[in-house]
Amino acid sequence: MNAPVKISCRNVWKVYGEDPAQFFPGGNGDIEDPRALWEEFEARGHIGAACNVSFDVRTGEIFVIMGLSGSGKSTMVRCLSRLIEPSAGQVLVDGGDLLQLSDRELIEFRRHKMGMVFQNFGLLPHLSVLENIAFPLKVQNINPRKREARAREVIQLVGLEGREDSFPRQLSGGQQQRVGIARSLAVEPEMWFLDEPFSALDPLIRRQMQNEFLRLQKLLHKTIVFITHDFLEALRLADRIAIMKDGQIVQLGAPAQLVLNPADDYVAEFTKDVPRARIITAGEIADIRQTAGPCRLNRRIDAHTTLEQLMPLLGRHPEGLLVQRGGADIGVVTPQQVVRALASERD
C-alpha cells in the first residue's frame, strides 16, 4: 500500500454553539491539549462533534470510518465534502486545502471530483430513475442527449436496466440505493463518499450490495471514504478502518490489526464476536524469525490466506507452512500460532 495520499484530514474540529470560532484563533486546529479544550467549550455551552481528527486516505483505498451513532462519523464525512463547515483544521485534497476554496470553486470541485451516497438515499422524489441519475450532469448544464447517454451507462453498471422510467417510490430499498450509487458515479468522481449506504437495507440485501460495492471498486478504483456503524461490514470492506468515539479516532489500522491488537476496551468490545478465522490472514501471524533457519519446510502458501483456509492445510502439515508474499518467503505459520491468534480474546 504505497499509493499517494489523496485526502488528508489534519486536526479537524467541528464545534456547535454560539461562537465556535473563539476557541480556534486563526482557524488553527493543532491544539496542544485537545481534551482540555473540549472540556472548556463544553463548559461554555458548546457541543463538540469532531475533536482533532487526523487521517490520510490513499488513492484507490477503501477507508472506513466506523462508530456508533453520535460518534461524529457522519460529521467527518460531511467535513470532507464541506457539507458541514469544519470549525478548525485542514482538509487537503491532492495537497490543496479544500477549506480555502471560494463558493464558486467549491461548486466546481463538487461537480467533478466528488460523489456521495446517503443512508436514506436522498433521491429526488419528483424525478424518474433516469432523471435522478442524470441530475448531477444537468446541474453542470450538459445537454440532455449527452447526459441521458451517460446515465444509461451508469444504469447498466449498477444493474438497473428496465427501471429507467420508474420513480423512487416505486423501487425497493436496495434498488433505490442502486440509483443513489449510480447518481454518485455519473460524473466519474475521483473521491467517493458513502454515508452508511447499506444501513437502511435488510441484512440479505445488505450483503448483496456489499459484494456489488466491492465489484464496482475493483472496476473503478475510486478513493473511498465509507461510513458505517457495523463493525463486520467495516471488516469486510475496508483496507483500513478508523474507529471513532465521542468525536475522536480511538484506533486506526488494517482490519486484522484491530482484531489482533485492539487499542482499548471500547475497540475490544467490537472485536469480540468477530469470526477471527475469516479476518486474520497468514501474513499477519507469520513468524519472520523462522525463515532464516535451516528450512525443512517445502509447502508454501500465500500471505492472504485466511486462517479458516489455513487450518485444514495445517492439519495435514502440523510441522508448519512457509508464508509467501510477492514471491518471497516472509515467515512460517504453525498450528500454535494459529491457536494463539484465535484465542487472544483478551488476555
Binding site: 463538487r110 419528483h126 441530475f135 441521458e148
Partner: protein
C-alpha cells in the same frame, strides 16, 4: 369509597381555592360595586379612536398610492370578468371540464359540467362568472405573495419570527374585520373584494410552503449540494419540487379561502356577484332564491376544491406519470380543449342560444321552494318552535345568564325557591365529592367550577374571577408565557370596552363547542369503529369544510328564522367537522399492540374504548376541540348576519358604519379569544402527549 389527594394535587389546587374565594367575594359585592361587572366608560382606553385617527391620516397620506393600486387591479379584474361574460357558456364549460379532467379525471369533469350547467339553468350564469372573475384575480395574487413571503421566511430566521405571529393573527382575525381598513383605503368597488380576498387567502399558502421547504429531507438537500448545484439550481430543482406536495396543499387551501372571502366581500355591495344574490335575498327573507343562489356558491366551492385538490394529489403521487423526453405528451389534451372552446365560440356566432343561455330555458323553482317552506312553517311551526325553545330555555339560557336568572315561570314553568338553590348546591357538592373519590381533586374542582358557572352564567360573571380563573388555568397548563398572553388579552378586551360582547361570544362559542365535542366525538368514535360510517362522513366533512361560511346559514335560517338559535345551529354545523375528524383519527392511531394487549387480558370492547383507546387518543381529540373553537369563532362572526350578538355583531356594525377602530378592537378581541383558547389547549395536548410518550 374514600377520597384521597394525588401527588402534587394540593399544591396545584390551592390557588384555585383562592380563586373561588375571590369569586365569591366579587359576586357578593357586585351589587355595591358595579365596576366589577364592567368598567365604567371613563376608564376605557380609546384604542379604537386612536386607530381611527391613524387611519384618517394614513388614508389621507397614501390616498394616491392606493387609488393607483385600485386602478391597476381594476383592469385585469374587469378584463377577466368581461372575458368570462363574453365567452359563450358552452365554451366556458368546456374549458372548466378540461381543467377538471387534467386535475383528476372523467368523474370530476362530469361533475364540473353539471355544476356549471346548473348556473346556466337557474339563470345565475352572469353573477357566477363575476365571482369567478374576482377569484381568478385574487388567487394568483395570494399565491405569488404567499410563496414569496414563505421563501423569505424560510431563508431568514428573523423574517420567520415576524411572519409566524402575523399568520396566527391573520387566521384568527375574523373575515369582516379585514374588509374595513381595505374599504377605507381602496374605496367602494369590486377591487376591495379582490384585495381582501388576496390578503385573507395568503396565510395558508405561506404556512404550507414554509412547511414544505422545511420538510425537504436533509439528505435530499445534500445530494443536490454534492452534485455542485448553485443556490438557484438547488432552489428550483431540488427544494421547490420536493416541497411541491405541501405547496399544492397550500394552493388548495388558498383557493378555498380566496373564494370564501370574495363571497363575504359581497356584504359591502357594489358587485353583481353571486354572494350579493345570496345576501340580498337572505335579507329580504326570500329563502327560495337564496337557497338556489347558495347552491351555486356551494357548487363553485366544490368544483374549485376538487380541482385544486386534484392537482395537489397528483403532486403527491406523480409516480404514475410516464414521460419520454422530447415529446409534448401532456400538452395534447389542452390543445383539444382549446380547439373545443374555439368551436363553441364559432358556433355561438350562428346560434344565439349557444352564446347566452336563453332565458326561456331557465328553471327557477324559487317560488315553489318558498311555497313549500310557507307550508311547513304554517303547519309544523309548533315542532320547530318546540325544538328551538327547549334548547334555548334548558341549555343556552342557563349557560348564558345562569340558572339563577334562566329559571322563571315563563321559561321553566316555575320560579327558583331558596330550597331549590340549596338543593342545587348540595347536588353539586355530592357530585364533586364522588368525583373526588373516584378521579381525584382535579375532577372535583371541575365539577365545582361547572356548577358555579351554570348557576351564575357566563355573561353574568364579574370580570375579576373570570380573568383570574382562565389565567391560572393558562399558567398551570402552559406556563408563564401563556398566562401572560391570557391576562393581557382579557385586560385588552376589558379596557377597550368590548368585555360584555366578548363574554357573549365566549358563551356562544362555548355552547356550540360543547355540543360539537359531544356530538362530533360520538360520531368520530362511530366512524373510528365502522369503515362504512367513516366513508360516508368523509365527503360530508370535506364539503362542509370547504363551504363559504354564509351558505351554511341558509338551511337553518329557512326553518328557524333570525335569532340566536339559528346561529347556534349554523356554528355547530360548521365547527363539528374537526371534532369528528380528530376523534376518528385519534382512535384509529392508537397503537394496535396496545389494543391487542388489552384484548388479550380479556377487556371488553367497552373497556378497550374507555380504558385504552380514549386515554391515548384524548390529546389528539383535544386538538380537534381546539380546531372546533377556532371554527366556531370564525362562524360566530358570520352569524352576526342572522342576529347573533357579541364581538361578531360589533365587527358587523363597524363594517356597516365604516368604523375601522371598532372593527379593529372587536376583531382583535375575537382573535385574542381564539389565540388564548388555542394556546391553552395546545399546551395541554402537548404536555399530555409527552406524558404518554407519544411525542
Amino acid at each position: 369509597m374514600r377520597g384521597r389527594w394525588r401527588a402534587g394535587e394540593i399544591r396545584e389546587l390551592a390557588p384555585w381555592a383562592a380563586v373561588i374565594l375571590a369569586s365569591a367575594v366579587c359576586i357578593a359585592l357586585r351589587g355595591r360595586a358595579p365596576w366589577l361587572n364592567d368598567l365604567p366608560p371613563r376608564m376605557m382606553i380609546p384604542v379604537g379612536e386612536w386607530f381611527n385617527a391613524f387611519m384618517d391620516w394614513f388614508t389621507g397620506a397614501f390616498k394616491g398610492l392606493f387609488r393607483a393600486i385600485n386602478w391597476l387591479l381594476s383592469w385585469p379584474l374587469a378584463g377577466t370578468q368581461a372575458l368570462l361574460q363574453w365567452l359563450p357558456w358552452p365554451a366556458t364549460i368546456a374549458g372548466f371540464c378540461a381543467l377538471a379532467w387534467a386535475a383528476s379525471g372523467r368523474r370530476l369533469a362530469l361533475f364540473t359540467a353539471l355544476a356549471l350547467f346548473y348556473m346556466a339553468l337557474t339563470g345565475y350564469w352572469s353573477p357566477s362568472m363575476n365571482t369567478l372573475g374576482s377569484v381568478f384575480i385574487s388567487i394568483p395574487l395570494a399565491l405569488a405573495a404567499g410563496f414569496l413571503i414563505a421563501v423569505a421566511a424560510h431563508r431568514s430566521a428573523r423574517v420567520d419570527r415576524v411572519v409566524q405571529p402575523m399568520l396566527d393573527l391573520m387566521q384568527t382575525v375574523p373575515t369582516f374585520a379585514y374588509l374595513i381598513p381595505i374599504l377605507l383605503l381602496f374605496g367602494f368597488g369590486p377591487v376591495v373584494g379582490v384585495v381582501a380576498s388576496a390578503i385573507y387567502a395568503c396565510p395558508p399558502m405561506v404556512r404550507n410552503t414554509i412547511l414544505g421547504l422545511r420538510r425537504v429531507p436533509r439528505e435530499v438537500l445534500e445530494s443536490g449540494l454534492i452534485c455542485g448545484a448553485t443556490k438557484r439550481q438547488l432552489f428550483r430543482w431540488v427544494q421547490v419540487p420536493s416541497a411541491l406536495p405541501n405547496i399544492m396543499v397550500g394552493v388548495n387551501q388558498t383557493t378555498m379561502a380566496a373564494l370564501s372571502m370574495v363571497i363575504i366581500a359581497a356584504i359591502i355591495g357594489g358587485s353583481a356577484d353571486i354572494g350579493w344574490e345570496v345576501l340580498s335575498t337572505m335579507r329580504k327573507a326570500q329563502f327560495g332564491q337564496s337557497l338556489l343562489a347558495g347552491i351555486v356558491i356551494a357548487l363553485i366551492a366544490m368544483v374549485l376544491d376538487r380541482i385544486s385538490w386534484g392537482f395537489a394529489d397528483r403532486a403527491r403521487t406523480r409516480a404514475v406519470r410516464r414521460r419520454r423526453p422530447g415529446r409534448t405528451g401532456p400538452l395534447k389534451p389542452w390543445f383539444t380543449a382549446l380547439a373545443l372552446m374555439a368551436v363553441c365560440v364559432a358556433l355561438a356566432a350562428f346560434i344565439p342560444a349557444a352564446r347566452t343561455y336563453p332565458e326561456a330555458w331557465t328553471v327557477y323553482p324559487a317560488d315553489l321552494i318558498n311555497d313549500g317552506l310557507r307550508f311547513i312553517t304554517a303547519n309544523y311551526s309548533e315542532v320547530t318552535n318546540a325544538i328551538k325553545h327547549t334548547v334555548l330555555f334548558y341549555y343556552l339560557l342557563p349557560l348564558k345568564v345562569g340558572l339563577a336568572n334562566a329559571v322563571s315561570p315563563f321559561s321553566w314553568g316555575f320560579a327558583l325557591t331558596p330550597a331549590m338553590i340549596w338543593g342545587y348546591a348540595l347536588l353539586t357538592a355530592v357530585i364533586a365529592w364522588r368525583l373526588f373519590a373516584r378521579h381525584g381533586g382535579r375532577a372535583a374542582l371541575a365539577a365545582v367550577l361547572v356548577g358555579a358557572l351554570l348557576y351564575f352564567g357566563v355573561t353574568n360573571l364579574p370580570w375579576p374571577p373570570f380573568i383570574l380563573a382562565t389565567t391560572l388555568l393558562a399558567w398551570q397548563v402552559g406556563g408563564l408565557r401563556v398566562a401572560v398572553l391570557s391576562l393581557c388579552g382579557w385586560l385588552f378586551m376589558l379596557f377597550t370596552g368590548v368585555w360584555a360582547q366578548a363574554m357573549l361570544s365566549v358563551y356562544m362559542c362555548a355552547a356550540a363547542v360543547i355540543v360539537c365535542a359531544l356530538l362530533g366525538g360520538a360520531l368520530g368514535v362511530w366512524a373510528g369503529y365502522n369503515r362504512r360510517v367513516s366513508n360516508f362522513l368523509r365527503p360530508v366533512n370535506d364539503t362542509l369544510q370547504s363551504m363559504p361560511l354564509f351558505v351554511i346559514l341558509i338551511p337553518f335560517l329557512m326553518f328557524f328564522q333570525v335569532g340566536e338559535f339559528t346561529s347556534f345551529l349554523a356554528i355547530i354545523a360548521y365547527a363539528i367537522v374537526p371534532a369528528i375528524r380528530y376523534t376518528e383519527h385519534g382512535l384509529r392511531n392508537v397503537p394496535a399492540e396496545t389494543v391487542e394487549a388489552a384484548q388479550s387480558m380479556g377487556a371488553t370492547p367497552w373497556q378497550v374504548l374507555w380504558g385504552v383507546k380514549m386515554p391515548l387518543a384524548i390529546p389528539e381529540i383535544m386538538l380537534g376541540v381546539n380546531q372546533t373553537v377556532l371554527f366556531a369563532l370564525a362562524m360566530l362572526v358570520i352569524t352576526a348576519l342572522v342576529g347573533s350578538r357579541g364581538l361578531g355583531q360589533s365587527v358587523y356594525i363597524a363594517l356597516s358604519s365604516a368604523d375601522a377602530g371598532l372593527g379593529l378592537v372587536a376583531g382583535l378581541g375575537i382573535a385574542l379569544v381564539a389565540i388564548i383558547a388555542d394556546r391553552i389547549i395546545q399546551s395541554w395536548s402537548t404536555g399530555r402527549k409527552e406524558a404518554l410518550g407519544l411525542l
